[in-house]
Each structure stands twice: as C-alpha cells, then as structure tokens.
C-alpha cells in the first residue's frame, strides 16, 4: 500500500523535536538558506540478501514526476511499522523531508521479491537495501547534475528533491535531472552513506503516520477494500481435518437464502457467493447444518499429547556437539535433569483472514495480507496450473498475524472462487471459528535438559533434547501448502515438511560451556502447524533460562551472577546489567517474586533480558503479573518508538502465551474455536511495562519483533518460583498447576 502523507509537515517536525541541521526544513524553495551537508562515510561491508535478486537502484526506488521518491519494498505491513522505518532510511540518505517519500509495499511485478515478511529480518534486508539504494541514487543524482550544470560534484548541494550549485543560482529538481528515466545503476560497495552522527530521522522516535489514518477510520486493511460490483463469499470448511463431503443440500440453500449468486463445490471444497455479505454468512450457516461429511482424522487424547509426541518422533539428529558431554557428565556430583513442555499456541489475529480475487479472463488479480506474495503466487500457479505471469498479487495490510497464519488460505479460497465466477471481485471473509480451527498453530514442543556442574559451580556439561514439529509450512511451489488445495476433487497433499530447524532455535545456550550437545527429535503431529513469532525459541528459552535458575540455585549462586560468570560477550553483559539496574530498587513483598531471563536471539542477533515481577496467591495459586521490564540491544536503532512498541507488545503477547494459552482439542478436532474457549490476556491482567533500548549505531541492525517473546516466558516462570517456591515446567503456568505442585511438594516434605 502506498502511505500518503497525512500530517502537516510543520506539526510533524514540531512533534519530532528535530530542527538541528542548518537549513530550512519548511521549504525547498530556492533562495532560502542552504544546508550544511551531512558528512558521508564509505560503507564497504556486505549487501543484504534481498539485493541478490534486485541489484539496481530502480528496483528499490523511483523518482516521481513531482520529484518525490517512491520506495519499493517486498515486505508487508503487519502493524510492525516497517513502512515507517523504510521511509526514514530513504529520507535520511536523500536528505528529504519524510512526507516527500512514499513507500510501496509488496506487489508482484512491481516490488522486489523478498520472500516472506518474517524472522525479524525486514529491517536488515529491506530497510538496509533501501539505505544502500538511496545512497547510490544520491551519488548518481549528483553526478548527473554536475554534468548538466557543468560543475563539479563538490560544488553541489543535494536536499529535498533538488540539486543546487553552491555558487550562483543554478539548480535542478530530481525529476529534471533524470528526465523521466529511472536510475538503473547497480548498487555496489563502497557506498557513501550518511555519517550516523548526523542522522535526522534514523534512530529517532519518529511517529508513525498511519495511526492518524486508523483513528480517522480510513481504509487500512484488506477487510476494508471495496470494488464496484464486488460480491461476497464464504467457504464452508469441513467439520474436521481430512473430512470428505458426502452430501450437501444445494437446492435447499438456493430456496432458503436470498441473494445467493453461485455455489461452487469442488471435491470437499464448498464456496458460496452472494450479493450481500450477511447473505453469504447465512448460506454458509445453512450448509453447515445441511451437509454430511466423513469422519475426520482422529486426534490423540490431549492429556497424552507429550507422550504421543515422543512415541511418533523420528530418530534424533545431533545438530551440535562440542567437547564430550557424556564423559564430562560422568565426573563430579552427577547431572540434574528437567523436562519442559509447551502446548500448541495459536496466532489469534484480531482480524480473521480475508482475500479478494478477480479473474478478468486473462489475469487473475488477488489482494492479500499474505506475508509472501511471490511464494504465494508460486503455490497458486501450481494449484491452478496457470502461468505465474498470469497471476498478479497485491499485498494489503491485514490485522497483526505474528507469523504464518491463514492469510494465504483466504487468498486461495478467493482465487478458486474467482476462477469460477469471473469478471467480479470476489471477497472471502473467514469466520472467527475457522480462523481458530484451521490456523497453522505454533507447534507443541518438549525440551529436556541434562547438565552438570564442576567443583567450582560452573556448568561443565549441557545436553538439550528438543521434540518439535515443523516451524514453517508457508506457501511455496508445493500447492499442498495451501489449505483449500488439500480438499479439491483432485487434492494436493503437502509434499515437504517445511522448515524443521526453527524447532531447536536457541535450545543451545549462549553461555560458555565446554561440553555441549543438542539433539533434535522431529515429529509430524496431529495439528496443522507453521511459524509463530520466534519459532522454537519461545519453548527453548523457557526451558534454558528456567534451568539456568535451577543450576544457579544448585551452585549456590545469585541467578544473574551465575549467568554473568558464563558469558564474556560485552553486549550480552550490558543488557544483563541494564536489566539488573532497572529492577535494582524493587522490593518483593509477601507472595511476590522477581525473575529474569536472557537471550541472544538465534544466538547471532539481538540481545535481550526480560525481568518479571509477579504475585502468587498462596490460597488459590493465581498469578498476578505486576510488571515486566526489558533491556534490549538490536544494534543500530531505526525507529526508537517503533522498537519500544514492538518490545512492549511482544512482552504482553508472550505473557498471555505463558499464563493462559493452549490450543485445546478432543479426539474429533480442535475445541478452542472462539475467544471464550481460547482466552488471552485482558486489560485487568495487563502489567506495567518498562523498556530500555541500548542503541548501538555502529553495529549492524537486527529486527526486534520476535525478540521479546522467548525471555518473557522464562522470566515469568522464574518470578513465580521466587514468589512461591513452585517451579512450573509445563506451559501455560496456571493456578491449578501451582496448587497441584504445592500439594505434591507438601507431601514429599
């Protein structure tokens, strides 16, 4: 979507509090004070992965007729504020006002193919590509202008869409320099980028421009798109996984539901198209009550889930093995062991999926909040047996989805129906029930740890065993990745297992341990799964950082001193110390406790330590979350308020996962099909939040969206232990589990 400037520049700059470099920001009219140009430095490092397929400046930005800049990014806006961050970077390198830069996100044939928007990788890929492309564009614009103005580059100023000679009054707008041609130069190092000390926008808390549009009820999301003659569709999903349609009352629905335009049955895929949206809702409801289906695939009993997982898992693969864990474990006082479990968790987007498609007889146009429009195109091309050049997908923001959710499936539904009902925009809206029943959940996991201490109380050996399902079944050339494709008359079954390695992410601790082993046990479980914010790290850091507290207690050390004794990375030490500082003045009252947890995401990216303060009611085991703190180092900060917002929100979401969430099911199917059956944190349960960001402008940027999730779970578990002496190993941490453990521990005394 193109973000159009909505705030007045003057007001915006006032809010920003920025007015430091010596030129008028309020006008680019000639004759006003000229700028002191910010110093540039040569960047000679590597180029982002996204630039491998999009090497030229014009793949990333265009100069428009009015001299404004349009930045092209293959990423999508999901509420994380990526559009704003990209705009800041481009405006920075081209010395332009922010409202002269617009950002076009994700459209096939228009924006670069950047795969999926995920893995906290948009800033380092898309925003950095834009930085280098914009810096290269600046250099090119200066060079071309110097030829046209017959002067040297050093004698030129470039700001706010013009290039002007320092002596005399000669100047050219960007548009006049380029004369309708775009900059096709390949981006290669060294690149002159702006000295970071002179940044106007990058690193600052620049307000997002889209929030005013939201409060004004302007169309923001795919659900809001309207086209002339658009029709409304619903898909009747089977009652459970693998159910096949036996009979459906096609005549009845035509008699009973007004406004029905078409019903499409293809195998066990059933769609209805109606004039009005609520008519489509009623048609789907009627058909739900007037159709017969075969039995769905049986699920194991939910109370036996973890036993079932161990039973069906493959032979483990050793993915990391350093030193000799077995030999080290045999020395000294023996090992200690613990087993941690995490249930299936759902994405739980506030806005159920939506897709719109229109087949014009030649091209199939699709509007989708997919996180990967090019891979989705590949999957649809394979399912529809259609040349991918005949499929055009426009990325449109949806509600926050936090990973691979149901967006691609809704687009697929719309595509199937639009091919059967051409020339009209067919809009498919999913129900809350289907959103929660057919979500590709974050998989259930087991993390077992066995470790030993040496005579000085240092960790001598550590072994992690992780049981995990796939952490990405995102669309790709395999049409079976699309839900609807599996239910067609000629079904596509998913051929691959997707991304398994996400399961053991962060299961090997970022601490200095001489003997270390990590085994991954892959299983193919009963529920549909894919990537959920931070993948396996959430379960693994819950285990690793809970266990670090246990080891510290065993070694007779303070848990944070114990961590510091096993780490020598200065940036890690800095976040740990910052978190200690944030909580230093806290006093824990009766029934209260403070817990901490550290993580370096993927062991290669951002650093964070989260602290949690809780109260546990001894009478009933109810956990009340009082406050959460985070100390975070994501390298160079692009938008300070953007990263703070992501960290705050992530901690709240992760607290909800930790204390409340679990996908429930019985032998017939998923039962947590609405917000009553799948409760999430509500206002009266929301803690106070405090975030400290350590800005490191000279370190590479890292994304931050996933970073708060994993340590929040462990910090809460450690706080609960401090508060009541009960350690819960099985998520979610509920009052019932605390009371049961409390009774057990009393018996054992």
């Amino acid at each position: 979507m193109i973000e159009s400037p909505s705030q007045s520049r003057r007001k915006f700059l006032k809010d920003l509090g920025y007015i430091s470099i010596g030129f008028s920001l309020f006008s680019s009219c000639l004759g006003e004070e000229d700028p002191i140009m910010a110093a540039r430095v040569d960047y000679e490092g590597g180029l982002p992965g996204s630039m491998r397929q999009a090497k030229t400046v014009n793949a990333w930005l265009e100069v428009l007729e009015d001299g404004n800049i349009r930045v092209l990014s293959g990423k999508v806006e999901l509420g994380q504020g990526i559009g704003m961050a990209i705009r800041q970077v481009a405006a920075e390198e081209l010395d332009m006002d922010l409202d002269r830069v617009e950002v076009k996100l994700a459209e096939t044939g228009v924006t670069p193919n950047e795969g999926y928007t995920g893995a906290s990788a948009s800033i380092q890929n898309s925003a950095m590509s834009v930085r280098y492309a914009a810096a290269t564009a600046r250099r090119e614009l200066l060079k071309l202008a110097s030829e046209k103005l017959n002067t040297t580059v050093d004698d030129l100023w470039l700001y706010n869409g013009i290039v002007k000679a320092k002596t005399g009054n000669k100047s050219l707008t960007f548009a006049a320099i380029l004369e309708g041609v775009q900059i096709e130069k390949e981006v290669t190092t060294p690149i002159q980028i702006k000295n970071k000390k002179e940044h106007r926008y990058v690193g600052k808390a620049v307000p997002r421009m889209d929030i005013e549009k939201m409060v004004r009820a302007e169309a923001t999301y795919i659900q809001d798109l309207r086209f002339p003659g658009m029709v409304h569709a619903r898909v009747l999903r089977p009652p459970g996984y693998g159910s096949k349609l036996l009979h459906i009352d096609e005549n009845g629905v035509k008699e009973q539901v007004a406004g029905l335009l078409k019903m499409i049955v293809d195998g066990s895929f059933v769609g209805v198209i109606a004039q009005r949206e609520y008519q489509a809702v009623k048609a789907e409801r009627y058909l739900k009550d007037h159709s017969e289906w075969s039995a769905s695939l049986p699920f194991p009993a939910s109370e036996d889930l973890y036993m079932h997982i161990k039973k069906i898992a493959n032979t483990p693969e050793t993915v990391r093995n350093e030193g000799d864990v077995d030999a080290a474990a045999a020395v000294g006082a023996g090992t200690i062991k613990a087993c941690f479990t995490k249930p299936y968790i759902m994405h739980g987007s506030m806005g159920p999926a939506c897709g719109i498609a229109m087949y014009d007889g030649d091209i199939l146009h699709i509007w989708s909040h997919s996180q990967g429009i090019y891979p989705l195109r590949d999957a649809l091309s394979s399912m529809l047996d259609m040349d991918s050049n005949k499929i055009h997908i426009v990325g449109v923001p949806g509600a926050g989805c936090y990973g691979h959710s149901t967006a691609d499936d809704a687009a697929t539904d719309a595509a199937i129906l639009a091919m059967e009902y051409p020339e009209k925009h067919v809009r498919v809206q999913w129900s809350r029930h289907d959103e929660q029943s057919w979500d590709p959940y974050g998989p259930a996991m087991i993390t077992e740890i066995e470790a030993s201490l040496d005579e000085k109380g240092r960790i001598n050996s550590w072994k992690s065993d992780v049981w995990t399902d796939s952490h990405s079944t995102r669309p790709n050339k395999d049409a079976g990745t699309l839900l609807a494709a599996r239910y067609l008359e000629t079904p596509f079954l998913m051929r691959s297992r997707g991304y398994l390695a996400g399961g053991y992410r962060n299961a090997d601790p970022y601490y200095n341990i001489p003997n270390l082993k990590l085994n991954a046990h892959y299983y193919e479980g009963p529920l549909r799964v894919s990537s959920l914010r931070s993948l396996g790290s959430f379960a693994n850091i819950f285990a690793v950082e809970s266990f670090m507290d246990e080891l510290a207690e065993r070694a007779g050390k303070h848990p944070l001193e114990f961590r510091l004794a096993h780490i020598d990375d200065e940036r890690a030490i800095a976040v740990i110390k910052k978190a200690m500082e944030l909580t230093a003045s806290q006093i824990s009252g009766e029934g209260e406790g403070i817990g901490h947890a550290f993580m370096r995401y993927k062991n290669t990216d951002a650093y964070t330590m989260v602290a949690a303060k809780v109260n546990v009611d001894k009478e009933n085991g109810i956990v009340r979350l009082i406050k959460l703190w985070a100390a975070v180092d994501v390298g160079e900060v692009i938008n300070l308020d953007g990263i703070v917002n992501q960290i705050e929100g992530g901690m709240i979401q992760a607290a909800s996962w930790t204390l409340k969430e679990q996908v429930t099911f019985n032998s017939n199917g998923v039962t947590s099909t609405d917000w009553i059956k799948y409760p999430i944190l509500r206002y009266t349960e929301i803690p106070e939040i405090e975030v400290a960001i350590i800005d490191r402008p000279n370190e590479p940027v890292c994304g931050g969206g996933e970073v708060p999730m994993p340590p929040t779970g462990a910090a809460i578990a450690n706080a609960v232990y401090k508060a009541c002496g009960i350690r819960v190993y099985d998520l979610p941490i509920t009052a019932q589990k605390i009371m049961e453990a409390s009774i057990t521990s009393q018996y054992s005394k």
């Binding site: 307000p207 929030i211 939201m214 009820a217 809001d224 009005r276 609520y278 506030m350 509600a399």
Partner: protein, 159 residues
Amino acid sequence: MPKYTLNINRTQYLVEAESDTPLLYILRDYLELIGPRFGCGLSQCGSCNVLLNGSASTSCMLPVSSIGDAEIKTLEGLASTSGKLHVVQEAFVKEQAAQCGYCLNGMVMAAVGLLNKNPNPDDAEIRNALQMNLCRCGAHTRIIRAIKTAAKTFKPDQS
C-alpha cells in the same frame, strides 16, 4: 424486504435489508462505514464497537430490526464536521497507541463511551471499561495512557 431508517452520525439512512442482518453488516457492507471492524461476530472482542445513545456497544450480533430510533455513532462520526479529531482520537495519535490498529476502533469507542459516563476515570475504571476489548499486539499500556491523556481535556458535550 423490510426497510429501516437509521440515525447514524447525525444522518438518516434508509436501508432495505433482512431483519436479522446485524448492524455491523449494515454499516460496513451497505453504508461503507468501515470504522467498526469484524473481529469475531460473537460479541467477544469489541472490534465492532459503536456508540448507541452514547454508550459503547458491539454491533456484530445486534439485528437491524432491534435498533429503532437509537442514535448510532461510528468512528467516522467522532471527528467534528470540519475534521477536528475527538480528544480520544487525538490522544491515540499522540501516544502512538496502536500496532496493527485492527482493534483500535473498539478501543476508541469504548474509551469515548467510558468518558461520556465518567469523565475522570482512574486506572482501574479504565481497565474495567475496556475489559471486553481484546488486543493481540499488546498495545494495552499505550491505550490506557492515551485514555488518561484524553480525560485531561475531555468535555462531555463532545459526542
């Protein structure tokens, strides 16, 4: 098909719809008032909130036939005719109280409904008033801050 005259954002609308059609569908599909969002259709999340005679109410299960002459206000109707934002809207922008913003309509309408009844709410009253509104991004603490900011300049006649 029955006809209904609805009083929405100080304008009379005549709609022809089946009597059981929920207000949310009338607003979004018939009248293209898209401020209220579809979140659950079960009155569980508050994304579809509107003001009914000044009180926040979900609209996803409310049949059009039950509305009568109640005064309906949607997010579109909060700003003044000249475009000046309601203090609650202004405060959400100032505090950057959103991530994806899908729940924002419900939060703003619940906040306006609260202030209409109680112009000086304390922290607990704000949380209780928003208890039926869900947010998945975790923008809660900013939203609470925005409502406190709005309360400082709120005048009851505004909506």
